[in-house]
């Protein structure tokens, strides 16, 4: 077999990889491609027959199988980290509900204090702090949801 035939078969394999690997993140795709290319160039020698080269490529496995393994690993990693994210979400929701309830119940004393012309501004301060807490918790929840989507 000529050196060109081996290189042609490697290029054909890498084209298949490119067509299949579009879903992988670009840096990971480039690194995996480089490793597969190095593997083939190391394993294939100019003395090999075309059948032997085809055997080396078959032993490496189809790009679909390799990318499937890559994707299943990524899914498992996301699954193992999901538990912690869920606990954080629950904690934030509880905090948001508590702060919201506090804000709601603080309105009543404000109204009563205002009507009785006592020191209503203290209640207003409590209400304002509670409202700020509720907004902060809502922002945390939105941030956590965005992070879990990535």
């Amino acid at each position: 077999m000529t050196k060109q035939t081996g290189q042609r078969m490697i290029r054909s394999y890498l084209r298949q990889f490119d067509a299949t690997a579009a879903a992988l993140p670009r840096p990971r795709r480039a690194l995996l491609r480089e490793e597969l290319a190095t593997h083939l160039r190391d394993a294939i020698s100019p003395e090999m027959s075309e059948i032997e080269v085809a055997r080396v490529i078959a032993d490496l496995g189809s790009p679909a199988d390799i990318i499937g393994e890559e994707a299943s690993g990524a899914r498992r990693r996301r699954g193992s980290s999901a538990g912690g994210t869920d606990q954080l979400k629950i904690l934030l929701i509880v905090l948001a509900v508590a702060a919201g309830a506090l804000a709601l119940f603080a309105i009543l004393p404000i109204v009563v204090s205002y009507l009785t012309a006592s020191e209503w501004y203290l209640s207003a301060l409590v209400w304002a702090l509670s409202a700020i807490s509720a907004v902060a918790c809502a922002a945390f929840i939105i941030a956590a949801r965005r992070r879990s989507r990535h």
Binding site: E34, D65, E70
Partner: protein, 120 residues
């Protein structure tokens, strides 16, 4: 098929520690690891799946990697085990001895009666 699914799951569980065991004796690049795993038996479903596995070990901090450049050869990505990888490997060795012993005992104890009934 049940048996092939079981084998696939078994491979997924044990190939990582086998790679760590090989790397515990020194750094290696992908093709070297593939050849040694192949010599040990049917540990890889296909050789290329070693690269996603290596990436997983790398992301978990169990192995690190570096590129080695030389004028005579192509640049190669070498992998080496980290201290965390060595701890993981030690833990696996202990767990595996216990686990394999339990499975062997159970398989042996359940195989004997069916073999006897077949011989009748």
């Amino acid at each position: 098929m049940v048996s092939s699914t079981t084998t696939t799951q078994l491979r997924r569980g044990v190939v990582g520690p086998c790679i760590l065991a090989l790397l515990s004796t020194g750094p290696r690049y992908g093709l070297q690891l593939v050849k040694e795993l192949d010599r040990s038996g049917q540990l890889l479903s296909s050789q290329g799946t070693v690269y996603p596995l290596l990436n997983r070990l790398h992301e978990s901090g169990l192995v690190s990697s570096y590129w080695e450049m030389s004028d005579s050869e192509r640049p190669r990505r070498y992998y080496e085990i980290t201290n965390e990888g060595r701890r993981e490997l030690d833990e696996f060795r202990n767990d595996w001895a216990e686990f394999a012993g339990a499975v062997n005992t159970l398989m042996a104890s359940t195989k004997a009666p069916s073999s006897e009934s077949e011989s009748r």
